[in-house]
Amino acid sequence: MFKNRRKLTAYNNWGYFFVAPFVIVFLIFSVYPVLRTLYLSFTDLKVMGDAKFIWFANYKRVFTDKFFWKALGNTLRIWGVNIVLQLGLAFLLMMVFSDVKYKMSGLPVFRVLYYLPNLIAATSVAFLFNTLLDWRYGTFNIMISQIYKLFGARYSPVDWLGNVSTAGHTIAVIQSWMWFGNSFIMLMAGVQGISKDYFEAAAIDGAGRWTIFGKITLPLIRPIMMYVAITSLIGGLQMFDLPFLMSNAASASYGSIQTVMMYLYKFAFTAGTIQTGFASAIAYALFLIILSASLIQLKIFNRKE
């Protein structure tokens, strides 16, 4: 008996061996950088040279910086339009495909097609739409003007990405186009995870399709809706690739689509404006905002339950 247990402990010691590579790389490339950024956020490091510890001065500066708030407002506005379109569309599609009356077929094909835009690198998507939406030569405006011509009207081309009033919305629409398929697949996975027995039992009891949707489908996919909403909030507040690649610092709309991450990038990595300490504080300030937003979201979802 004793001998056996010792043998088991010997086996268990193999655990250290199995997790060692992970732990080493994790400490060096994940834990250290996160702590290093935290330390830097308390210093006045610019590009190089000695860093002086200045306590919370950077944070004070972040939270009183009107450009930071403007960037946060931009991020939330773009994300807000994006999430309504993205989740709204995914939700409608989920309703259509889970409807007990119409029993739509073709889900595997539609699912793949709707997911397609999400596969493409943001740089390619950004470049594709930059070219399609070019206000003078872009295919999009030419398409619209040809349609106008059919009706004998004249169309004056809109500079979708250059106008303050359209730039943010345009990016939000493209972002939704990229992500609604992803949300739809997640919601559908939730619906398919519901036991068929519930639907059959409800049908025997003579429940209508709206009752089934409201009383069975909706409550049971609530955790997944929460998951989708929270992950998209976390991703949305870190929005960078699309607005960064589709904006031009010289254009009028730049101030209306600069996101928090773009603002951070400016102070962390753009030659000439580097203030590493301040940028680190922006990173942690954004983290605090994301954390509290997720907690609030969790609270709201749980209260309704």
Binding site: S30, R36, M104, L116, T123, T131, D134, W177, L187, A189
Partner: protein, 276 residues
């Protein structure tokens, strides 16, 4: 009953319209890459033209897209393989052995799954500067060994699909622990490994922010970073056809991967949603 059929028909039409809106930009991209800049700027059509070779030559004058593709492969393939292998190793270690620190590591994994990437960005860059790893692919490849999300997913998979008795039987037969891992565990978890591997590959292939920060030599650029330099060259407005061709070429490999593995990709997204 007639009303039912009509309504169902309308629903299908709407679904198809949405599918077309997902495909149209890609169709325009392919068609426009065969048309000249002048043609694209004056009219809209879905009929291909005959300027493909011309566009190809213009594009080649700006950059070597195949160099970018090769660079992307040099990063994405090793990162994906290392990520899948070491995540499986770690997940197995956490799931099968009771040792001190097991719970601590698992907690750290959960916490880091929730920490947004931007928190490490600045510290990571500083670390790379200190270690003279700027312009090297090492910082883009090695960190894949520690992928908390993949470890978490595989650990759950091992706990639900691998029975202890299999490994114990191998032990009685005198099998080495690593041997059991390679010959018994890896084949059993291969569907989950494939799923995570494909998602990892796509993520690495499409990654933009990190390579842009780490790489600053043209000949080292991965495909997305190279594509982004297009933005800077204003001449491209005149050469629209060539830019569409560049985008088309950059998109093809991923579409190719997707054709073969769409099942795994869809299942991994679904798994992400129901793992809660």
């Amino acid at each position: 009953m007639v009303g039912y059929k009509i309504k169902k028909g309308i629903l299908y039409v709407l679904l198809v319209i949405l599918a077309i809106s997902c495909l149209l930009p890609f169709m325009l991209m392919v068609v426009n890459s065969t048309r000249s800049g002048a043609e694209i700027s004056t009219s809209f059509t879905l009929m291909p033209s005959n300027h493909l070779v011309e566009n190809w030559e213009i594009m080649s004058g700006y950059f070597n897209l195949f160099r970018g593709m090769l660079n992307s492969l040099l990063v994405a393939v090793p990162a994906t393989l290392l990520g899948a292998y070491f995540s499986a190793l770690t997940a197995y270690g956490l799931a099968m052995y009771k040792f001190k620190g097991n719970k601590v590591i698992f907690m750290a994994i959960l916490i880091f799954m929730m920490i947004p990437g931007q928190l490490s960005l600045i510290g990571f860059y500083q670390l790379c500067t200190k270690l003279h790893l700027v312009n090297s692919y090492i910082p883009l490849i090695i960190p894949a060994i520690a992928s908390p999300g993949t470890v978490f997913f595989l650990r759950q998979y091992i706990l639900s699909s691998l029975s202890n008795s299999l490994v114990e039987a191998a032990r009685i037969d005198g099998a080495h622990e690593l041997y059991s891992f390679h010959k018994i565990v890896m084949p059993i978890i291969s569907p989950a490994l494939a799923t995570m591997g494909i998602m990892g590959f796509i993520g690495n292939w499409n990654s933009y922010l990190l390579p842009m920060i780490i790489l600053n030599k043209n000949e080292k650029f991965t495909l997305p970073v190279m594509m982004a330099t297009l933005r800077a060259s204003l001449d491209m407005v005149r050469n629209q056809g060539a830019t569409y061709l560049a985008v088309t070429i950059s998109v093809v490999p991923i579409l190719f991967v997707f054709c073969f593995f769409s099942k795994y990709i869809i299942s991994s997204i679904s798994a992400g949603a129901v793992k809660e």
